[in-house]
Amino acid sequence: MGEKLRITLGAVSRPLESLKIKTGDWGAEYPVVIEENCKACGDCVVYCPDLCIELVETGEVDEKGRKKKVAKVNYDYCKGCGTCSVVCRHDAIKMEIKEIYKG
């Protein structure tokens, strides 16, 4: 007693195994962040259904001495849905057609 009970029944999956599945090749389009427009508001991060946008430090500091951040897309998982470009209020994300779908 005192020990935690551990029973394994049925099919058990391990956490976050989905990360092996690279969904980045699904879409025909991909988002491009226009860094000088990005205000690091985080809206695209909150909305991206594929959890593949993060705010990352640029290495620069702003006038108030705060570390500057910009949105960065992880193309391993981005499905090219375009949601980020629609919700961005600062015109900082443009969708582009992938090279192989051009022409």
């Binding site: 099919a11 999956s13 391990r14 956490p15 976050l16 195994e17 989905s18 990360l19 092996k20 599945i21 690279k22 969904t23 699904w26 879409g27 991060v45 909150v46 909305y47 991206c48 259904p49 594929d50 959890l51 593949c52 993060e54 992880n74 391993d76 998982y77 499905k79 090219g80 849905c81 375009g82 949601t83 470009s85 629609v86 919700v87 969708m95």
Partner: protein, 294 residues
């Protein structure tokens, strides 16, 4: 890896532009580590295939109808083992699992007063099997079981009022939310968790394939559902309406219906005008009942 991604990860199988992952990550943002029971449905299919689980929290899928009962069992067990401090118990269930197939188990969970947060992900039809009508499908929607044809203009009956059903069970916190406003989802879940006992949140979640829209239209269309008052965002605490999302310059329902393939026939069907008028009446009634107009 971002914070969000530790609880629910990339690589899941949702269609591009799907609302479900937005809803799920906004809920998990508020709950932090928790115990998830998920009924059969889109979310289960896209996130729990063997060897491809997108979950970073304890997760169980049992069958279609019993997620509320499974969650009740987990909650009772955690209580008995003195492990209530390890996180809340959360149900994620679709509209079909909630309003039709699992409504008995849900009613029992409410009735017994379990400390469970029940989240209904409302994409307004059985979408994982390809758009069959559920109790939460709105009137006029063309589904494979209510196809718009020569006689019928899509689904005829009303959308079931699940928040009212939850309120009738004296659920302590009842709210509606939308994937168009993810931060509002997070706030509502935080608030819900302050109440001990059953809580019900219904989140309007876009289905790009079932509704017949492009990924880029997903959020704008979800926003229009709120801005037309067809999907009122309301919040009840212990039976009292405490907050609503006000609407400035309420839009006519046509603006919400037009972009979606499931409603397209309404603009040429002989009975289409009647259905649109009925939906406008529902929206007007919502606006009046909940005081939505700003």
């Amino acid at each position: 890896m971002s914070e969000n991604m530790r609880l629910f990860g990339s690589g899941h199988g949702a269609c591009p532009g799907c609302g479900l992952p937005i809803a799920v990550k906004s809920v998990l943002e508020a709950t932090g580590p928790c115990f998830v029971a998920n009924s059969t449905g889109c979310l289960e299919i896209i996130s729990s295939q063997y060897g491809k689980s997108a979950w970073g929290v304890p997760y169980i899928h049992s069958v279609f109808e019993n997620a509320a009962a499974v969650a009740a069992g987990i909650e009772a067990a955690l209580k008995a083992l003195g492990r209530k401090d390890e996180g809340p118990v959360v149900v994620f269930a679709g509209d079909g699992a909630t309003a039709d197939i699992g409504i008995g188990c849900l009613s029992g969970m409410f009735d017994r007063g379990h400390d469970v947060l029940y989240v209904c992900l409302d994409n307004e039809a059985y979408q994982n099997t390809g758009n069959q009508q559920s109790g939460l499908t709105p009137p006029g929607s063309s589904t494979t079981t209510t196809p718009a044809g020569k006689v019928l203009p899509g689904k005829v009956k009303a959308k079931k009022d699940m928040p009212a059903i939850a309120l009738a069970h004296k659920a302590r916190y009842v709210a509606t939310a939308s994937v168009a406003f993810p931060r509002d989802i997070t706030r509502k879940v935080k608030r819900a968790l302050e109440f001990e006992g059953p809580k019900y949140i219904q989140i309007h979640s876009v289905c790009v394939t079932g509704w017949g829209i492009d990924g880029k239209q997903a959020i704008p269309v979800a926003r229009l559902a709120v801005e037309t008052a067809l999907y009122p965002l309301i919040e009840f605490e212990d039976g009292q309406l405490v907050r609503v999302r006000k609407i400035k310059d309420r839009k006519p329902v046509e603006e919400y219906l037009k972009p979606q393939r499931r409603f397209r026939h309404l603009f040429k069907h002989p009975k289409g005008k009647e259905v649109i008028a009925e939906l406008q009446r529902v929206a007007d009634e919502n606006a009046k009942k909940f005081g939505l107009d700003a």
